[in-house]
Amino acid sequence: MSLGDMLIVMIGAIFVNNFVLMRFLGICPFIGVSKRISDALGMGGAVLFVMLMASAATWPIQHFVLDHPDLQIGYLQTVVFILVIASLVQFVEIVLQRFLPALYDSLGIYLPLITTNCAIMGVCLLNVQEDFGFLTTLFHAFGAALGFTLALVLMAGIRERLDTADVPKSLEGAPIAFIVAGLMGIAFLGFSGMM
């Protein structure tokens, strides 16, 4: 795959197949951590970091271990991937705490939440499903994380203003956030003509 194709995969993951608005991955943090822009950026940074590392770690495992013709253990994919992601998150947390305490202070509280963020596992599974090469996998993960951050930050910006709006009582909180997300999704549908 040429560099141009990889860039197309990346742009596609940001806009056309936006992980939150089009693929429905990572909805829990999208609704939970989108109340302030600073929180949204912190979560986005943590996701970018873990997504790249998880993609880089699961690709060789899938291609050299799970798909190994002598082993025949492709059915262990789910168990192996979730264990790799969970231990990776722990590892990243320990390393950051030890060597980059400043970064840990800003991303730390978001890291434990990431193990159960389906966007991470989702990007690893999609890399396998789409049969991407190693470099394309990294571009895809990068685009997916940027798309996730974009959706999260846009949402946080809207919700900061929603706080002062007069929302019907039964739609306050999550329901209005979903309706806003739906309207954002309609806007993002416009990108589908790009590819």
Binding site: L21, M22, R23, F24, L25, G26, I27, C28, I31, G32, Y75, L76, Q77, T78, V79, F81, I82, L83, A86, T115, T116, N117, C118, M121, G122, L125, L126, Q129, P168, K169, S170, L171, E172, A174, P175, I176, A177, F178, I179, A181, G182, L183, M184, G185, I186, L189
Partner: protein
């Protein structure tokens, strides 16, 4: 005995409205939005999630005194991942069309917070009978919302229900089966349920 049956029915029923995983606890939102394009997919996801919940709640409740508290989360995750693998293989063998329609959302049941949430918050602290009933109630409560949302989306967006044509060709809202329709549908559904079941709203 009377109190025991009362609590069992309570554990079962709470999953439908008062502690419904989707509309009250806000868990498991990704599959809710992603698979509700057709009622058939909702049934498949409900079956798969209920089976995994039942299996993991049962194992966790049986082993709760043996699992060291410090490593309980990894133990829960591996238990859940095992049941997810079983569901994945069974659905691939016996229901290939639904397996294909649900796609990566079957392996992603493993990160569905409803299941880990029930293992951690409920099954690891209660009796086997309560844990099983809780799993059934939560699984079916999850399925109930999936069914309602999927029915709304399929009827409005595709003009059919379980593949049966209901609306004429020119009376469909295509947006409802596209991704934004899922957000709009769930947002309104949550609003309606707040209106009906919460006193303060």
């Amino acid at each position: 005995m009377a109190t025991e049956t009362k609590t069992l029915s309570h554990e079962f029923l709470k999953g439908f409205i008062s502690e419904n995983p989707i509309i009250a606890l806000m868990l498991g939102l990704c599959p809710t939005l992603a698979v509700t394009t057709a009622a058939e997919n909702a049934v498949g996801m409900c079956g798969a999630a209920t089976f995994v919940l039942l299996g993991s709640n049962l194992i966790v409740a049986l082993l709760k005194s043996v699992i060291p508290p410090k490593v309980r989360i990894p133990v829960f995750i591996v238990t859940i991942a095992t049941f997810v693998t079983i569901v994945d293989l069974v659905m691939n063998a016996f229901f290939p069309p639904i397996h294909k329609a649900l796609g990566i959302f079957i392996p992603l049941i493993v990160v569905n917070c409803v299941i880990l949430g029930r293992a951690e918050a409920f099954a690891s602290k209660s009796s086997v009978a309560n844990a099983v009933v809780d799993a059934l109630g939560m699984g079916l409560g999850f399925g109930l919302i999936l069914m309602v949302l999927a029915s709304i989306r399929e009827v409005l967006g595709a003009g059919s229900w379980f593949g049966i044509e209901l609306l004429p060709e020119n009376a469909k809202f295509l947006i409802m089966i596209l991704p934004p329709g899922a957000f709009l549908g769930l947002g309104l559904l949550m609003g309606i349920s707040n209106r009906l079941f919460r006193k303060e709203a």
